[in-house]
Amino acid sequence: MTGETVQNITKTFKYSFPTCTNEEIFFNLEVPVDIPHGGSTRELVQRVINMFHIPVYLEEELNEKLAQFVAEETKNFHNERDKKLLNQLKNSEINVEGIIKNWEKLFKDNVMEFAEQKGTSDEEVFAAAYHKLVHSPALETILQVENSYAKTVMNTLKSRDEDIEKLTQKQTEEMEEKVRMLNISSTEEEINELAAQQFEQQALVAGRWGSQLDALRQTQRAQHRAWLMDTLQEYQSTSALNTPSNSPLATFSPESVSLPAPVAAGGARLEESFTIHLGSQLKQTHNIRIVAMDLLDLCAVEQVDNPAESSRRLQTALSLYSGELAGCVVLCSSPPRRPAPPTTRLLAAADLSTEHHFPSMDAQLRDISERLLEPVERRNSQRVQADSAGPRSRSRRDLQTGDIFITKHSNLAEVHVVFHLMVDDSSLRSGDITSRHPAILGLRNILKAACSNDITSLAIPLLLRHEMSEEMTAAWCVRRAELVLKCVKGFMLEAAGWGGAELRTLTAALPATIAPSLFAPLAALTPNIFRVSNPVKFKAPNKTDSS
């Protein structure tokens, strides 16, 4: 333990000097001084002289005496304290083992020389390899390979869906038949039996497809890794390499890459961007986009072959292991172990292709809910103790409004990191939430995490709602947007002092179904709340030469 707990003590400095008429009678001066003394003793002397009107000819002497006094007392202070400690040690009054264990742990956990030597983890090796290759001529091949993998998964998914649909249809027909014949040729028991049978069939089919998909993903993942590592080796040995020769592309049928007519994603969406300044004297620049869209559009890769889509993927792949990550905030009201929409939609999007870098989202969610059990329970029980008045009896182990869990992805369209912000639907529906609302505080934690984890572009739901609903009137929307923007502004200003990554682009998403007439006033809020930077106007240099 190096954190020294210095408890100041106060000592009285005594000084006396003769009265002017009688050499034997003294003026006595007593000044309490904090030991250890923080400031300069000479300054203290000046204060004493002024306050007590002490003759100036004593200044030098006082300076000397006080400095000596403080030095002496400080030394005594340290020595006395240490003597007590040492005596305790001698008399075995302290827990020596505990102290030594503590030091041992400190050294082992924090200092290179004493730490256990850890090699670089597999994760890091793979990260380095991928990052290197993705910034080499092999990039295109990598993306193609990933694309074809994704396509296989999607095709399988499609067949699964078709299969299941067919089955369902068949079953429905069967069932309808049976129901029609109820009391004629079939009994209630028979129908129940059939239902059970059908359910079993469904489960069987789903299970079969599920395991098939799992197997596919696992092979793909393994293949992908092996191939990348091979390619890297080749790349390093031949330093110049245009297209990797052993690309697994060869094993795929050379489907003619038919470029579908580029579909403008979602048609013209409502969008407005601003460049803003923050700070009163030194200004930092950020971009703010107000967009009406579904935040999950940032995640899902729908058409693999679409060039617009692949360019989005390209950007994401390039920056995956860089210090410029992209994140988005998704509101959810269910804990990670029981995903509900919109988390399930995200799950579906993440499942469209194989996650080559991180555990699958399913696994991540499971892992999160396991690892969260203990700290959340501890926190919640503390909270219950703290405000016993609050009769809210929520599950002791659940996340609460404002808590966040985080998943990371390599196969989404535009984001690497998804912040799942727990919200309580009913309170967010009401119009009057304040800046102390847990959801807002959660937003602050997200911005802080973004700052300390190098996330430089972030998308948030501006209204803290993903969908429009009837209570969201124009006034409601403006009020909510204003609150969120103002709070975000404060958080961004705050983040500037933390010395992390600065948030370059903040995307504020409005529900996709918002009316254009409502979008305009919301977009107009930005220049009111933030200082929009003035465009630099080019001015022709002065003709009168003054150089």
């Binding site: 240490d82 040690l89 102290i99 690892r371 300390s452 984890n453 010395g499």
Partner: protein, 805 residues
């Protein structure tokens, strides 16, 4: 004994992470907690000023991303740890003496080392010893701002292990090092736990040194150590700190033992003879990159951030999963100066020693903007050497410094140069010491509110050290200026001085004390309305004088300077701009004097001219509520140009601390009410006279032609006021001849002086000229009659009609 191949490295860097504040980052005052790295940065500034022959000078403390701290300091030779060969006892005594001297110095400064170890005691071929990175304990607030333990286990004193320990703990570490030097490495290959356990068991020993020697089976060897050295070691290795020797006692003992004087090393000539701080600065300008070398040595590792993403954050800010704290790596990255040497290899040797009265060399770089010059290695090299020399001679070289500062000021010595420009002399430390900065006063509350909002983007000013010092400075200034009160803005005004003199509070204070009377005389009076009103009126006149079109527009939309310019002048722009711009602005201010700020205001307006001309009142208010980017270099250049081209009397203000004007030739003072009404400034007789002599003005006589024909100023034209249509804002309306003369004057940048018999008409006519967009219009103070009394020689009888020249 000593190794031969001495490294050429002059400085080294080490790096570590400051501690993260856990959970919610809010202090008791409701403001966010200061990050630990900021606190460290603030504390470390003091270390940068410490110079001692046995201490490696600290050169820089850098705050990196994510709470990283990089410390750059001088290095020499190699560390004791790297010296493989054994030292003779005489050498040990010599090393011991030098270490003791430096440690005594540190303890006198109330700096505890705590991390003294064999790898931060450096020794060179001549046997000179320096301590490296002795301030880790100090800058991290006793280790409370970092998460790793300070020091190495085997040098920790027993009381340190028990979480105590004062300065005497350093004596113990010192003793252990001496013992190691004498009998070899102690507790080799042991893990921290067992080492600490052994140290703690020493408390039961009577003579810990002997006990340690026995433990290592070196007792015999220990007995062979000369007795006096053994005594020293045993004096240090006492269990109770109160029984240990202090370093001043040790220095005394060792000086008696060690008679060997160090070989006086001749200071190298040329580049290597320059101050290390300069070399470091120039090395950086030449492209030296501290972080690059650290990365090369894997001291900065870049693990992809996505791999260390946390898995959850609870509402109270508790982060789960993610980054584990980086390990503290004690290794150093060393830097050689080769880069700089090759960059400056063509500089002839005599250039290192410039002579003050030598004809100055001209550099091509002077034509470049200041910001570029500040990054030019060679230019800065010459400027630094030159200023270094001039500053040595201060105060006798004050005029030279002023002349050079007019060109530019090297950023590295800006603090010194500013003090010189402000005429700071004498024992400022003593004066500052005498001021009571601690006793609470009623203004403390306001100061406490303002300081956490003052230039907080600056890492120095936003830390607790910065806050504390700024408060002390403000209190000291208020106490020494009882006639003044605290106006908001005084904090911003103080900030640049603190920023440049962070470790020299007394000089920051002296600069502030000299600055205010010169530039802001009476601005901080409790009732400062008259002063500010006059200042703004003068500013408005200067705007009309140099930017008549803009002034007319702003007059029309009634956008008056009271709405935006008060913080400009009250804080001399320090509230408006970031520090890196203020320093350039003030560089010019300090050289040019108190008239310049008026023209700087005009310069800012001029840059916004196009926007302003097309804006109405509301847009203007919005525009000024958050000033757009201003090109400070351009603004400074133009304001100096305007300032120099304007006659002095034009910008005359009554509220300055200059001597009262007595000579009727020099008087321009008019009652305040008159001043507020006049759009154009007045010029005094002597300025007018010199303008006439240099043929730099065009005089418009607006008396009736009868009076004009009787006697007039030589070269003046006559535009009888009675014939002017004030509603018609076109020069043409004045008639062909006056129009041509005035246009010619505008083209030649002459002053346009309105001379009249009575003030009122002069005022109205000058307003009219301004509305016609005629620049540089001023009114002759006292009019024709005063001029006739004092300078009758200027008058002549005009040639008869149509005899114009």
């Amino acid at each position: 004994m000593y190794q031969d191949n001495e490294d050429d490295c002059k400085f080294a860097a080490c790096t570590y992470f400051a501690k993260n504040h856990p959970g919610e980052m809010c202090g008791s005052n409701g403001l966010p907690l200061t990050p630990s790295s900021i606190t460290i940065l603030g504390r470390a500034q003091r270390l940068l000023t410490i110079e001692h022959p046995n201490l490696c000078t600290y050169l820089d403390v850098i705050r990196g991303k994510h709470e990283r701290i990089i410390v750059v300091a001088e290095v020499i030779g190699k560390s004791l740890k790297e010296c493989t060969s054994k030292f003779s006892f005489q050498e040990i005594v010599n090393i011991a003496k030098q270490v003791a001297i430096s440690m005594k110095f540190l303890h006198d400064q109330d700096i505890i080392h705590r991390t003294l170890s064999d790898d931060n005691i450096l020794i060179d071929n001549e046997g000179r010893v320096k301590l490296f990175n002795y301030g880790l304990y100090y800058m991290t607030g006793g280790g409370s701002e970092v998460s790793f333990p300070l020091g190495l286990p085997r040098y920790l004193s027993p009381e340190t292990i028990l979480n105590g320990g004062g300065p005497a703990a350093d004596v113990w570490s010192y003793g252990i090092i001496l013992l190691e030097l004498s009998i070899g490495k102690l507790w080799n290959n042991l893990k921290p736990g067992p080492i600490l356990r052994r140290i703690l068991t020493l408390v039961h020993a009577n003579n810990p040194a002997e006990r340690i020697a026995r433990e290592h089976d070196c007792f015999e060897q220990y007995k062979q150590v000369p007795e006096n050295l053994r005594n020293i070691i045993e004096k240090c290795l006492k269990i109770y700190p109160s029984e240990r020797a202090t370093f001043s006692e040790l220095v005394e003992d060792l000086t008696q033992m060690d008679s060997k004087e160090l070989v006086e090393v001749k200071t190298p000539r040329g580049l290597m003879g320059c101050k290390l701080q300069y070399l470091y600065h120039l090395w950086q300008l030449a492209g030296g990159d501290i972080q690059a070398e650290l990365k090369k040595n894997y001291l900065i590792k870049n693990s992809p951030p996505i791999l260390s993403m946390p898995i959850a954050i609870l509402l109270d800010g508790c982060t789960i999963g993610g980054k584990t704290g980086a390990l503290f790596d004690r290794r150093l990255a060393k830097y050689s100066l080769d880069l700089l040497k090759s960059r400056l290899s063509h500089v002839p040797p005599q250039d290192f020693y410039p002579l003050m009265h030598e004809r100055r060399k001209e550099y091509d770089a002077v034509a470049l903007p200041k910001i570029i010059r500040e990054r030019d290695t060679e230019y800065q090299f010459y400027r630094l050497l030159w200023f270094h020399r001039l500053l040595h001679g201060y105060p006798y070289t004050a005029p030279y410094i002023r002349a050079e500062a007019e060109i530019d000021i090297p950023p590295l010595v800006r603090g010194d140069v500013w003090a010189a420009l402000l005429g700071v002399v004498g024992d400022i430390e003593d004066q500052y010491e005498r001021i009571d900065k601690e006793t609470p006063t009623p203004t403390d509350r306001q100061i406490d509110v303002d300081i956490p909002r003052c230039h907080q983007y600056c890492w120095l000013l936003c830390g607790s050290a910065g806050h504390k010092t700024l408060k002390r400075l403000l209190k000291a200034w208020l106490l020494t200026n009882p006639q003044y009160v605290y106006w908001q803005g005084l904090d911003s005004l103080t900030a640049p001085f603190l920023y440049l003199n962070f470790c020299n509070e007394a000089r920051a204070f002296a600069c502030l004390s000299a600055f205010v009377p010169k530039f802001l005389h009476k601005f901080f009076l409790k009732d400062n309305s008259a002063v500010i009103k006059e200042y703004l009126a003068k500013f408005w006149q200067m705007t009309a004088f140099h930017e008549p079109e803009l002034a007319t527009h702003l007059h029309e939309i009634n956008f008056v300077p009271e709405l935006f310019a008060i913080p400009w002048f009250l804080t001399m722009f320090s509230h408006v701009f970031p520090l890196h711009k203020i320093v350039h602005l003030w560089d010019a201010l300090l050289v040019e004097g108190p008239a310049l700020p008026l023209f700087m205001g005009v310069g800012i307006l001029r840059q916004l001219r196009d926007t302003l001309l097309s804006s109405g009142f509301n847009e203007c208010i919005l525009l000024f509520s958050d000033l757009p980017e201003i090109d400070i270099g351009e603004c400074v250049k133009e304001s100096i140009e305007m300032c120099r081209s304007s006659p002095r009397s034009v910008s005359y203000r009554r509220f300055t601390n200059e001597a009262e004007v007595k000579d009727p030739m020099d008087i321009v003072e008019i009652p305040m009410e008159v001043l507020f009404n006049e759009i154009s400034p007045r010029i005094n007789l002597s300025d007018f006279f010199s303008l006439i002599c240099q043929d730099k003005c065009c005089v418009i006589d607006i008396r009736s032609n009868l009076l004009y024909e009787k006697s007039c100023i030589d070269g003046s034209i006559n535009v009888p006021y009675s014939g002017v249509h004030l509603g018609q804002h076109e020069l043409r309306a004045l008639g062909l001849h006056p129009q041509r003369v005035i246009q010619e004057a505008i083209k030649q940048k002459k002053m346009v002086v309105v001379a009249s018999a009575e003030d009122e008409t002069a005022q109205l006519f000058s307003d009219y000229l301004v509305k016609c967009c005629v620049p540089r219009v001023c009114i002759l103070h006292g009019g024709i009659s005063a001029l006739l009394t004092h300078v009758p020689s200027l008058f002549t009888v005009p040639p008869k009609r149509n005899g114009h020249k």
